[in-house]
Amino acid sequence: MRKDWRDVLIFAAVAVSMPLIVLLLIRFTPQPPIGEMEYARETLSKAGKNNADTYSKKLYSEAKIFYDSAMVNWQKENERFLYFRDYDKVAMFAELSAKKASQAGANSISSTSNLKINLKQKIDFLNDLISDINELFTTYPLSSEIRNRISKGKMLLTEAEIAYKKGQYLQANRKITDSEYLLTASYENAASNLKNYFKSYSVWENWVEKTINESKKNRDYSIIIDKYSRKCFVYLNGTKKYEFEAELGKNWVGDKRVKGDKATPEGMYKITKKIEGRKTKYYKALLLDYPNDEDKEKFKSEIARGSLPASAKIGDLIEIHGNGGKGIDWTEGCVALTDKEMDVIFKIVKVGTLVTIVGSMVDLQNVVNR
């Protein structure tokens, strides 16, 4: 009987002490940083929604690494005996992750906003640049390489605009950078070429003045060809009487240097012959005294300097002729007018009429502002 009582007592003691031990174990067991981990996770998710993985990549990936480290440490600690667990590192990593994720989110929002503004400005700038290029260089004989680069630049700009509209700012930025490089480099190259071309403007200005004065003094006709604007002006008594569209040699930029260079010469010339009928294949033609003494001198000095090979020949047979109106610079160096305009001009000019060919009658500043 006594033994029975002893067993009951032992059982009761065990039954009471077991939950107590368990409760004590729970009470004094180190607790994991659940709140900190949840906060880190939420901050990380929020940063992701703000595209921090794209626009604040470094901070975001650091935040992720810290979060993963917190999880790994948590799992590691869970494997240890209840009392020996230490979640300090877990809490530390969670805190670091939340901090970095918060920075990444904020950074992403501000980066996106700045990038968006910056991209819009660049898109506007490049569109303006394209307008300038179209305005200045549509008929300017740029090299095919430059034309290709401008065309590729335009295409990249369109791709950038599409990415921008979709909110893909990084992609847009990459395209803009490539487009900007192609367009600005091409523009600078073309602009420097143009600037170089206009270096002789003061000489041209002088020739134009002389030609108009001659027309006034002699009460006669004189002709001025403006290569840049592709115009043929006919003056009578110093006043402009006619204005025609002119077509030039394919490489009209710069003075004619050598036979076959397809350049239209610059200088003050005179009509030496009026040709019509079967004697010309260009309807009617006015032969000029190219090369004049100045051209011959220039050619000789180029040969002497070695800038032209000794075998080079000076060009000749430069005319104002018909068959124009093609809308393109196609001649071998001559000036082409339409047959109708040729009829007008052919009738009023004579052998000895002054024909001045200049790069431009307007200075570069005015050409750019036009």
Partner: protein
Amino acid sequence: MKNKVLMGLATIVMVAVLSGCGKKPQVEIDATNAAIEAAKTAEAAVYVPAEFAAVQDSMNAINADIAVQESKLFKNFKTAKAKLATTLTLANQVAANAAVKKEEVKKEVETLMTEIKTVLEENKTLMKKAPRGKEGAAVLEQIKTEMATIEGSVVEAQGLYDSGTYMDALNKVKAAKERAVGINTELKEAIAKVKGKKK
């Protein structure tokens, strides 16, 4: 003797209670992770990024829940199991949605490719009719260069399409079409202008 048997039974019941629902749902975890991986392979991050991020967020929360339970003396993975089942379904759905979206983008690229080829052909015909008056021929020369660039861009887009990067191909072909249509409009306007003048 009777008491000893009772004690033994009580111990077994206690152990059973303590360990009941206490096993980590590894099979479910592996299955859900595999489903997420499959969604990733289906390029869910590219085609349905928001949905994919939601699945990843869910999985992160579940992993934390599991870690919480593993920290406890009395583990209970019931909630985690239920969440895993939901996330598994969601991941499968996201993978399916990504495949649908990818197919849509693919079809859009194919349509645009066909359309742009038609526009380019039309542009070539229009070029022959385009006016060559003042600056006309020079502009046409410029258009020719632009057409060559557009054709190059279409080839690049085709390459992207062939390699399965439909989203990049879409952006490229869209830009090419925009430029080709721009040229088409420019040419049509120039032709109409000349026709108007002739009347």
